[in-house]
Amino acid sequence: MMDIPSIAEAGAAIAAGRLSPVALTEACLARIDQHEKWVHSFIRLERDRALGAARTAEAEIKAGRRRGDLHGIPFAYKDIYQTAGIPTTAHSKLLIEHLPTCDATTVTKLGEAGVVSFGKLATHEFAIGGPSFDLPFPPPCNPWSIEHFTGGSSSGTGAAVAAGFVLGGTGSDTGGSIRTPSAFCGLAGIKPTYGLVSRAGILPLSFTLDHAGPMAWTVEDCAILLQAMAGHDPADPASASLPFPDFRAKLAGGIKDISIGVLRHFYERDTTVTAEVGAAMEASISTLSRLGASVREVTLPPLQDWQACCMIIMLAEAYAVHEPWLRTRFNDYGKCFRDRVAPGAFISSADYMAATRHRRELQERLARVMIDVDLLILPSAPEPAPFTKDVASYGLFEIPNFTMPFNVAGTPALSLCNGYSAGGLPLSLQIVGRPFEDATVLRAGYAHEKATPWKERRPIL
């Protein structure tokens, strides 16, 4: 069976005529045929459409009309991205027959870039309720270990890319839903700056915290995908009308000019991490220092403040989105969704405004710290993927995570692999930048990835 290339490798091989988009699509479909029965990453596999799109891409490229590095690349969408004529269920009974009439803006953009869509990927129900076993579709399994959690909510994207079913996919991130599955599945995934990538046509969870972004095997692949997804969209009121650079071209150049702040108190005092995660962080700090970055510790308000702010806003906004159905079809939601979103009914307008005022205070504290450093680093998760059976509905409420602060602040945040546990599960590093300095985040991630051997491993299916 064909080795699984990265998007950059496949794009180069297709451009050189060494790889056929049809052969690549067939190889991915063969892998799906063999392993999807236990990975459960797809809600809807569009086999015939994928093969048709691959044939079209191949014909266009042969005719000299190659569109770029994404032309002919196997790809899939988290099932909250609306797709015209293809059901978009949000992994929920409530939308089981929902057939959108138009694409999300990002689906249109990626289609124009030439990706070959394989269909729709599993998610936590409405991007928050999961893993759940009481929904119309099962939760995905982690390709690194069937009994372990993929992370969520972009769970299907994490599983499908790690398994090599597709070379990239979309995620959404309201409190960590791109970065956590990227961390647990050994991928790279970036939550871009709020406003850089359109949310239009993506089913909302929390309007002011939702971010759309790419997940792929490497940081370079994320840069290629972000290039296609980014840009002003009048259909999204939060979309920024700002120029953005060539993210891939900005990857090179090293990090000798970069200063990095380590948020050590987040993972050593405010909460704890496993010894392996701590050791991987120390190794990452050494790697980045060796590459020429200046590294020092910095301090922000406690992690619990960020979590409370994020959760109050998320629950209030999510409840507002779902209130009509929660009142009339409560039991059609999965239990995990109900456990997590129903408490939003009891958040008052004054609570919500207190959280949004606190959000501004936290955002300003972060901005002050980032006057002196270009980037922040910390783990993406406190441990490798836990057993799926051990993931509790109220986990989000109990233990502050390392991803929510950057939804609160809207800053770019990248998760990438920085090692493996003794049990062979991926560990992760998170790199955070100033707003709209996504290119600097990707550059540091790329430098780290090129200096370490972690992308040489793939899950053994």
């Binding site: 002011t208 409370a308 109050i312 129903a342 408490p343 009891f346 949004t356 005022r357 955002q363 109990e398």
Partner: protein
């Protein structure tokens, strides 16, 4: 980790549920009441540090020019 014990009584919580319009079973109400301690703790944290100035701006922007 057990949920922090909610300060709100079950009776007062049931009144909140009635006002919300949610139609819950007794078991669902008990579960939600048990989880309410998390909401109380997070609410206290976003309001910590005393009253903010009346003019303290939230992190919400309203743009009057619709694009």
């Amino acid at each position: 980790m057990p949920a922090p014990k909610p300060r709100i009584s079950r009776e007062d919580f049931d009144a909140l549920v009635r006002a919300s319009g949610l139609m819950l079973s007794e078991e669902q109400k008990s579960d939600l009441h048990a989880a309410y301690g998390y909401i109380e703790a997070m609410r206290a944290r976003v309001r910590a540090g005393g009253e903010r100035p009346r003019s303290a701006e939230p992190a919400i922007i309203f743009n009057p020019r619709v694009r």
